[in-house]
């Protein structure tokens, strides 16, 4: 690809201006023994060829029809309005750097401000940052905030419900490897919130729950915040932003920090990334938040404008004393979420949430009626949103292989790996993109697969 525009004549003129004869003379500071290695890389190709090569590579993936996939567990197939990618493809947005020059970055800054505004209202909290890498790292930053806040009162314990996404818990544990005093506990077995809250004590920095939880169910959240607060701990909630179109937000039941994976808001699954970490909290914690914050101000003529603010928290100013090391985060994904939420609006998001609820309940009822299957056997009393647990008559790995090979269906997430007590169980996600016919096909296929031994 002609990536470098220079002609031979221009190059010669520039070299002469610098006072060297050959480009190699620009690198005399590089030790000769390592200079100009022979790299074992494939030879270059043209744009036509890479296009063909990528299609060939992509063809080695199973040709997935999203409406024939029932996988969720933290990444979802939702409908993405055409407006979202239209906005994302604006080169002025996606080829820009972090908006440190506000006079020529008002577009991104205002979009981030609007993203923050919509996230605050959706979560019923007072302040949202401008994004984290993904839901798990947003949660890790929330936990770090709680630990920093609790440092003076020797609060070093994080209590986790085991119904928080297993990978999120794993990421938090990795993040805390550098803090030898911090402990993460509570998620060893079961997901009984009463048992968990009974462990809250004076050393607890935060109680972390997910609702709808990893199994898709709404937790009994009433009174949780009070129990945490009475002991001086924070309540951190992981949630699903789509659910908040119809169901109550974390701020309404007392969460101090809410985080979420924002991929469901107009971002493709893309094999797991890039996704969007949503983070919101109360104004009392604003100076401890990590990540960028877009704020409103005025220019010298008094016109409204936006800047990145409270930069004194950030690494480029505070260095070792910064609240976090965040620089590049997930702005373009926040922009996607802003375009998504603006397009759907209040009514659209409510309808999506209701469709997810209705369709998943239809699927659950149909599957529950099959011989040898049970739905949410681990907690039948809890209401669910768009995902539910299915106990299978055969190992999940066999069921999924048969679904894919014989019916072209991607089945649910095999829960046995993360939860030994849920061996032979899968987590099924149903959203607004699934028609009744697609659900019926899944149900019929499950019924047939189950009959075989």
């Amino acid at each position: 690809m002609p990536y470098v525009p220079h002609t031979e004549a221009e190059r010669a003129e520039m070299l002469a201006c610098i006072g060297v004869k050959r480009p190699a003379e620009l690198f005399t500071d590089v030790p000769a023994k390592v200079r100009l290695p022979k790299l074992d890389l494939p030879p270059p190709c043209s744009e036509i060829e890479i296009e063909r090569e990528m299609r060939t590579l992509a063809a080695r993936n199973f040709a997935l029809d999203p409406s024939a996939s029932f996988l969720g567990a933290g990444a979802y197939h939702h409908y993405r309005p055409a407006t979202v990618d239209y906005v994302l493809q604006r080169g002025e947005f996606y080829t820009a750097y972090t908006p440190y020059q506000p006079e020529v970055s008002q577009g991104v800054l205002q979009a981030l401000f609007e993203y923050q505004s919509m996230i605050c209202r959706l979560l019923a909290l007072e302040v949202s940052n401008a994004s984290h890498y993904d839901g798990a790292t947003a949660l890790a930053e929330a936990v770090l905030l709680a630990l920093n806040l609790g440092r003076d009162s020797n609060r070093s314990k994080i209590l986790f419900s085991s119904a928080v996404h297993p990978q999120y818990r794993a990421v938090v544990r990795t993040y805390l490897r550098g803090m030898s005093s911090a402990t993460v506990t509570g998620d060893e077995d079961g997901d009984d919130l009463d048992r968990l809250t009974s462990q809250i004590d004076g050393s607890t920095a935060a109680l972390v729950i997910q609702s709808p939880n990893f199994f898709g169910q709404f937790e009994a959240v009433d009174g949780l915040a009070e129990r945490a607060h009475t002991a001086g701990a924070l309540l951190i909630v992981v949630t699903d932003p789509i659910a908040l179109g119809r169901f109550r937000p974390p701020g309404a039941y007392g969460a101090d920090i809410a985080v979420a994976e924002g991929q469901c808001l107009g971002i493709p699954p893309s094999f797991g990334g890039p996704h969007l970490g949503i983070f919101a909290t109360r104004m009392a914690h604003v100076r401890r938040i990590s990540g960028h914050l877009a704020g409103e101000t005025a220019d010298v003529d008094g016109r409204r404008g936006y800047v990145l603010t409270l930069a004194t928290r950030e690494q480029h100013i505070r260095r070792a004393k910064a609240t976090s090391n965040i620089c590049t985060n997930s702005t373009a994904c926040a922009l996607a979420a802003a375009a998504y939420l603006a397009t759907l609006g209040k009514r659209g998001l409510r309808e999506v949430a209701e469709l997810c609820f209705q369709k998943s309940h239809y699927a659950a009822a149909q599957i529950a009626a099959l011989d040898g299957f049970a739905v949410n056997p681990q907690a039948p009393e809890k209401p669910f949103f768009k995902e539910f647990v299915v106990r299978l008559p055969r190992p999940a790995v066999d069921v999924n292989a048969a679904l894919r090979e014989e019916f072209g269906i991607i089945g649910g997430y095999d829960l046995g790996g993360d939860y030994p007590r849920l061996e032979q169980h899968m987590l099924i996600a149903v959203t607004e993109i699934h028609t009744r016919a697609a659900i019926d096909r899944l149900v019929a296929a499950l019924g047939q697969v189950a009959k075989r031994k």
């Binding site: 520039m14 990528m54 080695r60 970055s105 577009g107 990795t174 797991g272 976090s324 209401p383």
Partner: protein, 493 residues
């Protein structure tokens, strides 16, 4: 850029545009029987704005017109490598057979994705001279944090828990010390010497049994190749420390030298700098880490491996390194960026990478020589992909910030300013290889014109910019009277 000048009206926010009852998208009616909603779990109202689809499109289009990207114009932002983001990359990353794949699918159904990731791991290892690569970190700073956690795990694994300090040059990016703190280390600042290198005596004095390692940016943030890098690496190794490389400046070295060959144990790559994936207005990027044999067992899990025991077409699997530090993000990292970086690497090959680095360095030195008589270059020797000059114009009171703002009026994005911290009034200029000589010459002309303006009419420069949609913004007010959420109430909300 929108050139409306100083009378540009603010763009109303989504909430100001909201009209009760409007909607931008129709959804299908439910085709299943209605299940009762759990009354106790319902919300009152989610209070999102209500707009027509055309309102939404015009809103974001108007916003985009008040934003400057590489596609808009020259963006010589030092240490950020604002090079051209090929459009084919965007198209490929959106192929449904890639973009629609779910990260938890059975591995047999995503062999194409795994093959791509495996190739990218191999190629990055080859380019950096490393034994292994994890693609999982989502950004450069995330890669730093990951690398430091691996260094910590390495020392602990050897039963050496005394190593609590990380040496960091005073020219380092702010992310370096911030990442150290997150990883539980103490950052120790090391001064630079008169030639812009890290001060060897200071390194020597700091090296003892409490040193876990050093974080080196090479070329450093002055754009200079560390002339005594061999000696620095030897000193740190001799005291039992590890060498971390900040790969932010790899665009000078790809195909020129391999950090692994220089003795680096771990380095992050910024795919959004060196490998042409877009910066996205502040992400998403990707910050894969490469490691030497010493750290390979500590890489985040999972990595992609080839199942060797099979004949025919290779099968790819996930593997967990023996002493892995664990996950640093969900799933596999920013796969969409891997697709773009893969395409970039295939389009260029090894020779192309070297040519790109050479031209990045050629362009930087050309600007350095053209500008040094107007704006002094404190460490004036052959630079790599960027250089630092001083933006103050003597006896006029005009500062680097003013020069930067006046550049906006000339249609250029300013250089990074006031960084590195060791150069007063720093302007850090990184042109990248994709800018043509006419563009560079136009930039030189603008810089010279601004210097002349600073002498003849300093107020013009000090009050710049004049042609942007907003002029200088009150950052103090933004921080003191925090408005982080739109106060306009959605109509009917």
């Amino acid at each position: 850029m929108d050139k409306i000048g100083p009378k540009a009206a603010p763009i109303p926010t989504l909430y100001e545009l909201s009209v009760r009852g409007r909607s931008g998208l129709d959804l299908p009616a439910s085709d299943v029987p209605q299940a009762p909603l759990p009354a106790a779990e319902l919300n009152q109202d989610c209070d999102l704005p209500e707009l027509s689809q055309l309102d939404v499109v015009r809103h974001f289009l108007a916003l985009s017109q008040r934003n400057f990207g590489v596609d808009t114009g020259f963006y010589p932002l030092g240490s950020c490598t604002m090079k051209y983001n090929p459009k084919i990359n965007e198209q490929l990353a959106r192929l449904p057979a890639l973009a629609e794949t779910h990260p938890l699918q059975d591995l047999d159904s995503v062999q194409g994705n795994l093959a791509l990731m495996h190739a990218l791991q191999q190629w990055l290892a080859e380019i950096g001279g490393f034994a292994g690569v994890s693609l999982q970190p989502a950004a450069g700073a995330h890669g730093e944090f990951t690398g430091l956690l691996m260094m910590r795990a390495y020392h602990q694994d050897r039963g050496d828990s005394r190593r609590t300090r990380i040496l960091i040059p005073d020219s380092a990016h702010g992310t370096n010390p911030a990442s150290c703190t997150m990883a539980g280390f103490t950052a120790v600042e090391i001064r630079s010497d008169a030639r812009g290198n890290i001060d060897l005596d200071a390194v020597r004095a700091a090296c003892d049994a409490s040193v876990a390692g050093i974080m080196m940016t090479n070329p450093n943030t002055l754009g200079l190749f560390e002339e005594q890098i061999d000696e620095v690496v030897r000193l740190v190794r001799d005291c039992g420390g590890l060498v971390y490389g900040d790969g932010a400046n790899m665009n000078a070295l790809a195909g020129i030298a391999r950090p692994g060959d220089l003795g680096f144990d771990v380095m992050h790559f910024n795919l959004h700098k060196t490998f042409s994936t877009p910066h996205g207005g502040g992400g998403p990027g990707a910050g894969p880490v490469g490691v030497s044999q010493r750290l390979i067992d500590f890489l985040p899990a999972p990595v992609v491996a080839m199942d060797s025991g099979r004949a025919g077409e290779p099968r790819y699997v996930l593997a967990s390194p023996k002493k892995s530090i664990g996950r640093v993000s969900t799933f596999f990292g920013n796969f969409g960026m891997f697709v773009r970086a893969y395409a970039y690497l295939r389009l260029h090959g090894g020779e192309g990478l070297r040519a790109n680095s050479e031209h990045a360095v050629l362009n930087a030195n050309y600007l350095r020589v053209k500008l040094r008589n107007t704006f002094p270059v404190p460490f004036d020797r052959m630079c790599m992909h960027e250089f630092v000059c001083q933006g103050a114009v003597e006896a006029t009171g005009v500062r680097a910030l003013d020069i930067s703002k006046r550049l906006l009026d000339y249609g250029f994005h300013p250089p990074t300013n006031y960084f590195p911290l060791i150069v007063p009034e720093a302007l850090m200029i990184e042109p990248t290889e994709t800018e043509s000589k006419p563009t560079l010459d136009a930039f030189v002309t603008a810089m010279q014109a601004i210097a002349a303006e600073a002498a003849s009419d300093p107020d013009l420069v000090k009050s710049a910019p004049h042609k942007t949609p907003v002029r200088r913004l009150d950052e103090v007010r933004a921080a003191r009277q925090l408005v982080l959420c739109d106060r306009a109430k959605a109509a009917g909300g």
